[in-house]
């Protein structure tokens, strides 16, 4: 039993708090990375993803040959010294195509994240902060969300022509409403937070209000959502190519490889399995990291899928 309990309150009010630097680091980037890598599935995912990225970057130096070179005399070969994973129905080197395919997938993934997040944040802020914009834009977004994303993307690509850019935009558009909705709900949620009202009481301008007091709240959920968009864009790209509505057919992308492999699937399943495993591995590791990020950054988001 403490005798001089009178000191207790002073102790509470005294500023015996941790050093400033330490506290700032606690919410810093290094801490986050360490947190993410604290479990084995996350570590493995990070390593796998890193390997795939390295593979994409250094594709020409990894013992590959020209991935689009046709060689009709070498069709549907098994694993040989010249072709480590064999060849496809046009005699192209499977190994090189798998390695180079990482470039397309990662580019589409990253590009989609950038486009979808930029557009989503723009519309989200607009609709969340300005009431007049809300009605028109959100109706439009509702309409966009009602259209099955794959169908919209297929239609867009088929009509605008199959290039990497159109594929990227076509995959991004269906993602925009979801990002916009999330940003909008965060903005509307903090609008009535006392600290935002306090800033308005202090005469803070609209732009500062949005950038200083509101947008920082969207960073964590945006990182999480961006991760999932990255994964789903890679998946969608492969589906589009598989269906024949993706990047130009000669491009060495995993989806195109699987599309080419369809006819010969029962003869040589590897034509689909090699690229399929790569897509799955990439998407899986990104999704795993996304889950860890979500648990770390935005536990509430678990509810919103």
């Amino acid at each position: 039993m403490t005798t001089d309990s009178g000191n207790t309150m002073k102790a509470e009010e005294a500023l015996d708090l941790p050093d400033m630097e330490e506290a700032q680091n606690a919410s810093g980037f290094g801490q986050l990375i360490r947190g993410i890598l604290s479990t084995w599935p996350a570590r493995i995912s990070a390593v796998v993803l890193l390997l795939i990225i390295l593979m994409a970057v250094f594709a020409p130096y990894l013992g590959t040959v020209d991935p689009v070179r046709l060689d009709p005399s070498q069709r549907l070969q098994g694993s040989t010294a010249a072709h480590w994973l064999g060849t496809d129905s046009f005699g192209r080197d499977l190994y090189s195509r798998v390695v180079y395919g990482a470039r397309i997938s990662l580019a589409v993934g990253a590009g989609t994240v950038v486009v979808a997040l930029l557009a989503g944040v723009f519309f989200g802020v607009l609709t969340g902060y300005f009431r007049w914009a809300d009605i028109v834009i959100m109706r439009f977004m509702d309409g966009l969300m009602a259209i099955p994303g794959i169908l919209l993307a297929i239609a867009l690509v088929a009509i605008s022509g199959a290039t990497l850019t159109t594929v990227l935009i076509a995959i991004s558009i269906p993602e925009v409403p979801r990002v916009a909705r999330m940003v909008r709900s965060v903005i509307m949620g903090v609008r009535n937070e006392p600290y935002v009202e306090a800033a308005s009481v202090l005469g803070t301008s609209t732009i500062k209000m949005i950038t200083r007091h509101m947008l920082p709240n969207t960073i964590a959920p945006l990182i999480v959502q961006g991760t999932y968009i990255f994964a789903s864009a890679i998946m969608t790209e492969s589906i589009l190519s598989f269906l024949g509505a993706g990047v130009p057919p000669e491009t060495p992308s995993w989806g195109n490889m699987m599309a080419d492999g369809r006819l010969y699937f029962l003869v040589k399943p590897e034509l689909i399995l090699y690229p399929g495993v790569m897509v799955s591995l990439t998407v899986l590791s990104v999704n795993m990291l996304g889950d860890v990020l979500r648990d770390r950054l935005d536990p509430r988001m678990a509810k919103r899928i």
């Binding site: 039993m1 403490t2 005798t3 001089d4 309990s5 009178g6 207790t8 309150m9 509470e12 009010e13 500023l15 708090l17 941790p18 400033m20 506290a23 700032q24 919410s27 937070e193 006392p194 600290y195 935002v196 009202e197 306090a198 800033a199 308005s200 009481v201 202090l202 005469g203 803070t204 301008s205 200083r212 007091h213 920082p216």
Partner: protein, 547 residues
């Protein structure tokens, strides 16, 4: 008091320690011992973090399994150590021998089941009664907790009942099996004072009928002084002292208890109105209607109407009312955080209602919010938050920094805290920072919207003192919004009493609190816990009058 010296001891908490799991460095509750006899009410009092709720949960065997565990001592319920019983036996004991009433009546009931069914569940689990018998018992219990129209209530869902009614349902659920021990964890904290009074009476009444032993956990000494037979004071996991109600209230032995008791505001008005000063704020015929009128239907709510009052320079004016009275609406209209529907708000001679650009006024009127945890941007340093307003109004950074430093010292915080983030501070400290943020703008009027309601009583006393000091030093006027009459009595020169969006009474604090004219004001004062106790001086309020 309903106990006699030879009353049987129902609960005996012996040297109990509760630790975090996995075992932490510092137990949450350390070596607590106390007894509760049949028919006796023991109040466990303490501030947040004192371990009072954890203690009651330990008795109920409801500590969160993966976080807390009892690591030492015994909890004897009628001679049986409940720390040693099997889970099945513990389930048998719950509701039948030891029952609990929780703080939040809004969330303690399952929203998708009728309340009748939820009370019935207790009987289904513990008795072999037929459905007809159970229904009869439930209805009679609903009657005993004085719910009106019991057949209808039986079929109601929780959301169809008021907070007070829900708390009666929870009490009915707890007492239907006539348990030997009732644990009540802040059961009235979420309720308005008038409802609180009724619930306190109800618990007392049922307790006397059944000779139930009651453990009542609370932070509110007003409530304690009304119901306690004995008091257990806790602080930061330790038991500070125990004693009878009178021992603790009149002659506490420990410093902590003395400080705790003397921090409790009492209902004795201490301030005179301020005369002959210019008007800082003049509210004229203010009205606020929420929602829009439809073509046929009128779904609007009149949150405030016909509001007239003035605040003079250096005056602290309280707006008092229960939840839904419209007091916060008025405050927000004065700040133009909400636009009034009709009327004028005249600040320093200028009506701010028609203004489109509020820049000038915003400097003159500043706002302190209720929740100190949400009123500071967690991502910005204290310095950035405090300098923001000054820089918005064109002050250069060096000067703003200097001014902020001075103001921080005014609220008893060192200027060095400017580089820190809000999460590094306690609630009381944050509220000081929030006050500094308002004061640094050198406003003529401060609006404090329930600014001390979220604080522990000792911190509350300090913040109230701080507000008064600031008023004395700067001559600022304060519009003080509160639901707590005792706080208003401490600090206000004049008070405005609101009910259902209207002002029912308005005048000098000493007149209204000591001699209320309106029936509603009288009801409020009647319901306020311990209206007749002067806590600061450890004596009944009548003594103060005699002196």
């Amino acid at each position: 008091m309903t106990t006699t010296p030879d009353s049987q001891v129902v609960l005996s908490v012996e040297d109990v320690t509760v630790d975090t799991r996995p075992k932490g460095q510092k137990p949450i509750v350390r070596n607590i011992s106390f007894d509760v006899k049949e028919g006796e009410t023991v109040c466990i009092v303490g501030e947040s973090g004192s371990g009072k709720s954890v203690t009651s949960m330990a008795v109920m065997g409801l500590l969160p399994k993966d976080a807390l565990q009892v690591t030492g001592g015994r909890i004897m319920l009628d001679g049986e150590d409940i720390l040693k019983v099997t889970p099945a036996r513990m389930r048998e004991l719950r509701a039948a021998s030891v029952a609990m009433v929780f703080q939040e009546p809004m969330t303690a009931l399952n929203p998708v089941k009728t309340v009748g069914d939820q009370i019935d569940e207790v009987l289904r689990l513990h008795t072999k009664d037929s459905p007809a018998e159970r229904r009869k018992k439930v209805l009679s219990m609903l009657d005993r907790v004085h719910l009106p129209d019991i057949e209808r209530v039986y079929k109601s869902y929780p959301h169809e009942l008021s907070g007070g009614q829900r708390q009666r349902i929870v009490i009915a659920m707890a007492l239907i099996l006539r348990p030997r021990l009732l644990l009540a964890d802040e059961p009235t904290t979420a309720l308005d004072v008038t409802t609180q009074k009724q619930i306190l009476y109800l618990i007392k009444e049922l307790q006397e009928q059944e000779k139930t032993a009651v453990v009542f956990v609370t932070h509110d000494f007003g409530v304690v002084s009304e119901i306690a037979d004995r008091i257990v004071v806790m602080n930061r996991g330790d038991l500070v002292e125990t004693g009878t109600r009178d021992e603790i209230l009149t002659a506490p032995k420990k410093d902590y208890t003395r400080m705790l008791v003397s921090s409790v505001p009492s209902l004795i008005p201490r301030r005179e109105p301020i005369a002959a000063q210019p008007k800082v704020l003049d509210v004229i015929s203010l009205q606020k209607r929420y929602g829009k009128k439809g073509l046929l239907s009128d779904n609007t709510v009149l949150a405030a109407q016909d509001i007239n009052f003035t605040v003079h320079k250096g005056e602290i004016t309280g707006i008092i009312g229960e939840s839904g009275s419209g007091k916060s609406t008025v405050a927000r209209c004065v700040m133009r955080l909400t636009d009034p529907t009709e009327g004028s708000v005249v600040v320093n001679g200028r009506d701010i209602v028609p203004m489109n650009n509020l820049r000038d006024v915003r400097k003159q009127v500043q706002y302190i919010f209720q929740d100190p945890y949400r009123s500071l941007n967690p991502r910005r340093t204290i310095g950035q938050s405090l300098m923001e307003g000054l820089i918005n109004y064109g002050m250069d950074e060096a000067e703003a920094k200097k001014r902020v430093g001075e103001t921080l010292e005014l609220v008893n915080m060192p200027a060095s805290v400017m580089n820190r983030y809000p999460h590094q501070f306690s609630g009381g400290q944050r509220q000081r920072v929030a006050i500094a943020r308002a004061v640094v703008m050198k406003p003529d009027l401060l609006i404090a919207d329930e600014a001390v309601s979220a604080l522990d009583v000792t911190v509350q006393a300090q913040v109230l003192k701080l507000l008064e000091d600031i008023r004395d030093n700067t001559g600022v006027s304060i519009l003080f919004i509160t639901h707590d009459l005792r706080v208003a009595a401490q600090i206000c020169n004049t008070v405005v009493v609101m009910q259902k969006g209207k002002i029912v009474e308005h005048g000098a604090a000493r007149d209204i609190l000591a001699n209320p004219q309106h029936a509603y004001t009288r009801a409020l004062i009647d319901a306020a816990p311990a209206p007749d106790w002067d806590f600061q001086n450890f004596r009944p309020a009548t003594a103060a009058v005699a002196v």
